[in-house]
Each structure stands twice: as structure tokens, then as C-alpha cells.
Amino acid sequence: MISEWAHLALVLALPMAFMQAVVALVPAAPMGWSDSFRQSVVRAVSLITAGLISLAFLGLVLAFVTGDFSVKTTFEHSHTAKPLLYKISGTWGNHEGSILLWVLILAVFGGLLALRGTDGQTRDLRVRALGIQALITLAFLAFTLFTSNPFERVLPAPLEGRGLNPLLQDIGLALHPPLLYFGYVGFSITFAFTVAALLRGEADWIWARMVRPWAMLAWTGLTAGIALGSWWAYYELGWGGFWAWDPVENLSFLPWLTGTAFIHSLMVVEKSGALRVWTLFLGVVTFVLAILGTFVVRSGLLTSVHAFAVDPARGVFILLILGLSVIIAFGLFAWRAPQFKPGRGFAPVSREGALVLNNLFLSTGAGVVLLGTFFPLITEAFGQPLTVGKPYFDATFLPFMVPLLLLMAIGPFVPWQRLRGSTGDRVRGLLTLLVVAVALTMIVIVMLLWQSKPRLSLTVGLAMVLAGWLLGGGLLTFVQRARAVRSPFKVSLAGCAVSLAHAGLGIAVFGLIAGSAMVQERTVNLKPGDSVEVGHLTFRLDGVRETQADPSIGRNYISAFADVALLTGKGATKAILSPERRFYPVRQDSTTEADIRVTWLGDIFLAFNTQAPDGGFILTLSWRPLIPWLYFGCILMVLGGLLGAIAAWRRVERA
């Protein structure tokens, strides 16, 4: 019954979104409406749309929680013997539900934009942006209802569902897709603002100021979504580790790269009106890449470890949405762009210049990743598909990231418009940064040497100096901002945001370097009592035990644990780690659950693979230095993004 109401709400949202688009985009004058009346109507309708879609989503969640198996989505992807958390997250652990989540976030963002009314010149911009947002919502609602309706029924209703794919019974599923979609869809608002600006033929500093909080928010969500996805792939075996340059990973990374360029070029537009056309271009491209990501993941066009079963009809529909957005947005762009007046000029060596470089490196990087990701499709058109792997991406992408990271530490110190101050000050500044970078790197390396037997090389050392440079740049940015206001407690939110985000990336880069070049790992066949050494660590397999399924506490699988003792130098037991193998009777599937011991300097990562014919147990034991830094750095970046969004939001409120 609830599902019927939810379905009805979803169907009703369609005409509402249509009405919203029409009222917002058709000029008000012919209808005899005043601008403020039109704004009120659009705001009301978009809040109703958001409400209806929220109800529909809530209905689907309830169907999963209560186990209403007359709903096909629920029947195919849920089961009564499943923990509550996974019943809820199972709602978006399938195609239909995840698309409904996408539409929900789209509508909620629209609703948020509608919450506040304005007058004057920002009103027209907001109303038009709401109109564009309504068009996007309309397109994806139609997609949901016509190709992926989550409320399709199965009659008669089955008594039990088929269960969720065990790999998806994970906290990763509960968090990663919603955050990733939050990022993707957040860029729909900036896209809507961009198209609205193109329609009006104007993108001034007020426009940039209004777009920035949304851009920052979307960027923060996307950063968090990608980081969580990477973390999930890191501890889930068989997904290629924290970053494998898999097509699905790349596709989420592309809008991140252009989105990062976008949030930086918006600053230039707000400050001096320069880079307007380029910024509008990025605003369009970022959202197009976000839709492209959804399209490819949902169509199975590229072969990936993260891909799921697909239906070609859906791919065609999203391709249609993608094509329409590209044609409309770039058509508008080609028509309007030449009409924009150039902004204030700036010297090549200036903050603006640094931000232009940031944009150039990021977009070139995005270009080579895009090409590598779609290489199989391009070559297939000429014969047979050829894929490229990690070596291609390392060789073509990293050369653009090294100068970007080098400049990133300096950029925030360069004054706007042109250089000021003396050459001596600049040299002193650079030397300070270099000293800090080397000192930070030395601290990290000494800690590693003291605690473990790290695999060090000159390349690793130099790469770490780069990370230290970045971290030092972030820290010194904060010091400089604090000096300017004579107190570390009075640094502006925006100043804290840039320091945190940049320093966070520096810490994450430490983790990336160590995680790619310094991992020590062995796959071994052990019998109880056997010991093995990995790097500085000594392990002993103590035994293997089993536990039965217990549906009353939500455990729908049988487990085998390998108890592995971590030994001290003298042979005493320091800790016991218990990697696990799970068997899910409902689906006849097994999964490997790694046991990870997180320490300040790295992860001890154990996986229990299987039992060999000779009776031994196959274990993968590894030491992964600085991996926690990768995720800690990402957390700092997300915090920085949030602060940046708040700071940008306050500026809009004040204006």
C-alpha cells in the first residue's frame, strides 16, 4: 500500500517538474505575471517536487525495511534475514533504487535553491537556474519512470527476496553512492547557474559569488564520495586496491578534476571578471562528465571490476539526456560566449596567473584520463578494442600533476593582479617552504625507518619531498594568514579552508606514494603453528575456527576465521588478527573480509583466501605504510571543502 502511494508521488512529480520548467523559463510578461509572483510560483512548485520525490524515496526505503516483496526491486535485492542497515542501504544498492536516489538528490538540491527568495538582479538568475534544474529533474524522472521504475510489482507477492549481493552488504555501500551522487548532482546546480548565465548573456562577479557555495558543496561531496569509494575498494579484495585506474574510478575522477578547476577559476571571476568564458565552459563540462559517469556505469559500456548487470535500453536513454545537455549547453555556449566582455587584466605572475596554470594542468590531466578511459571504445570503432592500464595513466597523468602540486603550494602566497614586495622576500619565502618541506619529509622517513624496514628509493624520497612541499605550503598558508590578522584564531574561514584542503592533499599524497611504492606483501600457505615474516612484521597462524549463521542477530552467513598472531621480536604475542571468509547460503557466494590493523604509520592488512588441497591455509599478509594518511588527508580536504562552502555561503548572505 505504501509502495502505491510512493509510486503515485513519483508519477505526480513529473508534471510538477514540467510546470516548474515552463513557468521559470518562459518569460513572465505574456502571462501578465509580475517577476516576484513568478518567483513565488517557481519556488513553491520546486519545493513540492522535492517533497513528492522525497516521499517516493521514503516509500521505497520502507518497502525494503518492511520486506514488501511485491515490489520487484525489493524482491530482487532484499531478504528478511539481513541487518537493518543493509536493508536500508540496499535501497540504493541496485540500479532502480540508485537512480531514484540520484533523482532525490537532484530534487533536494533544487528545493534548497528554492528555499531562499531574492529580488533585484539575482532573482532572474535564480529563477532561470531553477528552470534548468527542473529540466534536468524532468529528464531523470522520465528515465526513472520509463526505463527503471523501482515500483514495478511482482504478483503474486513472493514470500522471500533473493538477497543482496554479499559484496554490497557493507558500510561502503551505505555511504559511498549517496556521497558520490551528492557530488555529481551538486554540479547540476552549478550547471543550471551556468546555463542561466548563458541565457542571460551575463556572468559577472555576482554570478560567481552565487555559484561558489554550490560548487564548493558539490566538490566536497564528490571528494568524500571518491575517497570512500577508494577506501571501500582498498579493503574489499579483488577490486584492485585504493586506486586501480579502473574505468569506473576514472569516470568519477574526471568531474572531480574539472570541478576542482571550476572552483578555482570561479575565484578569478569573482575577483576580477577575467576567465568568464572559460569558467562557464568548465561549469558545463563538469556536469556533462558527471552524467557521462552515470551513463557509462549504468550502461556497461566499459569493462570494469566495479560494473554491474545492465540493460541496454537504459544506456540509450541516458545517452539521450547526455546528448541533449551537450547540444543545448554547448550550442548556447557557442552562440553566447563571444558576447562576453573580457574582465580586468592581470600580469602572468599573479594569483590569477597561478589559478590559470592550475586550470591548465587540471584540464590537460582530465584530457589524458578521458582519452585513456575511452580508448577501448575509440579503438573498437577502428577494429578491435584495445585497453590501457595503470602504466599508461602513470606515464601520461602524473607529469601534469607534479608541476600542479609544486605550484599549488606557492599559489596562495602570490598576490592578486601583479607581484608586489621585494625579490628578497620572495626568495626567503621559497627557501622557508623548501626547508619546511625537507624537514617534514625527513620526519616521515625517520619515523618509517624507526618503526619498520621500509622499501626506500631515490624516487620515493623525491616524491615524498613533493608531498612535504605541499603539506608545508598548506601549513605556511595558515601561518601567513594568521600573521596578517595577528592571531591564529582570527584567520578567516576561507583562509582555514585553503590551508586545510591543500595540507590535506599533501598528507594524502604521502599515503599515495607509500601505498603505491612501499607495500610489503606475501601470499603464503600456512599450517597452524607456522610463522612467516613480512617486512618488519612476524606472524604466526594459531588456528582456524568457524561460526554458524545466526539470523536473529542479522548474521546471514557462515564464517571461517584464521587467527593470526602478530609477534614481537622476542616471540611474544602482541596482537591477534582474524581475517575472515564468509559463505552466504542464500546466494551460494563467498566473500573475503580482510582484517586490518590501523596504526599511525601504516596498516597491517591480512586476508584469508582459501584452504589448499594439502590442508594448509592461504593467507595474504601485508604491511601498507602510510595508507591511513591517505584517508586522513581526504578527511582534511573534505573539512576544507565544507569550510570553503560555509565561507562562500556567508559572502552570498552578506551581499
Binding site: 548487470a309 573580457p342 587584466g345 589524458v368 592500464g389 601520461t396 582459501t610 588441497p613
Partner: protein
């Protein structure tokens, strides 16, 4: 002012062009060694591919062909709907969803002695997912049941 603006725009545009050119150069140099063609066992038999050249071999694991002595070194045979077969060796931990009768893609090189050394195995991730290339070449889905 306008003269310097034209000049600075020129600087940025040429820098952008230089970066793009650099990207093209990097790609041109990086690509030849990195290309992984997709092959089926039948195609592999019909072609003369030098050992050591990386490629992606897709097919179905022949039921009954999987063997391991120590649980770390694995060998199995892949086949496709045209009947070709290829012996594959793999070292390390097997993916969770590795099963006989199932379609997989192995990335690796020919060892020169008739075998294929896989560095990486891509299996299904979800019971209904089949990599696109395999859909055309191996009827992974239909024969799945026979493997169990």
C-alpha cells in the same frame, strides 16, 4: 593596457597549446607498450603473438580443468564458443567469485611454452554481470549452471 592584455592572453594560449602538445607526446610514447588487446583462446591459437606481449584473454573456465597443489599457484583452462582452449597459470590469491564454468578476463602474457601467465583476473562482481567483450565471445551465462 590592451596591448599587455593581448600579450598575456597570447602567453596563456600558447602555454595551453604547449601542454596539449606535451600530452600528445606523452600519449604517443606511452601507448605502444601499454596496449592490451582482447583475445579469445581461438583467436590466440590462430595468431602468432610473441611471448611477453601483454594482452587480455577472455573465456570460460573449463569445468574440471582447475588444479592447484599449494593453493598459491593455480592453473586452469579457458575456452570460448568456437572451441579453442588455452591453459592459464596464475599466482596469488584467487578472486572470491572465481568458479569453474564462469567467464573471466585474464590480463597477462604468453610464456613461450604454450601457456598463458596471468597477472590479473577479472571475474564477475555480481551474479548477473558479464564483461562486454565476453558477451560476444563466450556464452558465460548459459553454461554457468553446468559448472556448479
Amino acid at each position: 593596457m590592451s596591448g599587455s592584455r593581448v600579450r598575456s592572453r597570447l602567453i596563456w594560449v600558447s602555454l595551453g597549446a604547449a601542454l596539449a602538445a606535451g600530452a600528445v607526446l606523452l600519449i604517443v610514447f606511452a601507448l605502444p607498450g601499454q596496449l592490451n588487446a582482447f583475445r579469445t583462446p581461438t583467436q590466440l591459437q590462430a595468431m602468432d603473438i610473441p611471448p611477453g606481449k601483454s594482452l587480455r584473454l577472455g573465456g570460460q573456465i573449463v569445468p574440471g580443468s582447475y588444479t592447484t597443489a599449494d593453493g598459491i599457484t593455480h592453473t586452469f583452462m579457458l575456452t570460448d564458443k568456437d572451441g579453442g582452449t588455452q591453459v592459464v597459470a596464475y599466482q596469488g590469491a584467487l578472486p572470491d567469485l572465481f568458479r569453474e564454468g564462469q567467464g573471466i578476463i585474464a590480463t597477462g602474457v604468453l610464456d613461450g611454452a604454450g601457456g598463458f601467465d596471468a597477472k590479473n583476473l577479472l571475474t564477475k562482481h555480481d551474479e548477473a554481470y558479464v564483461p562486454r567483450e565476453l558477451r560476444d565471445h563466450a556464452d558465460g551465462q548459459q553454461q554457468d549452471a553446468s559448472g556448479q
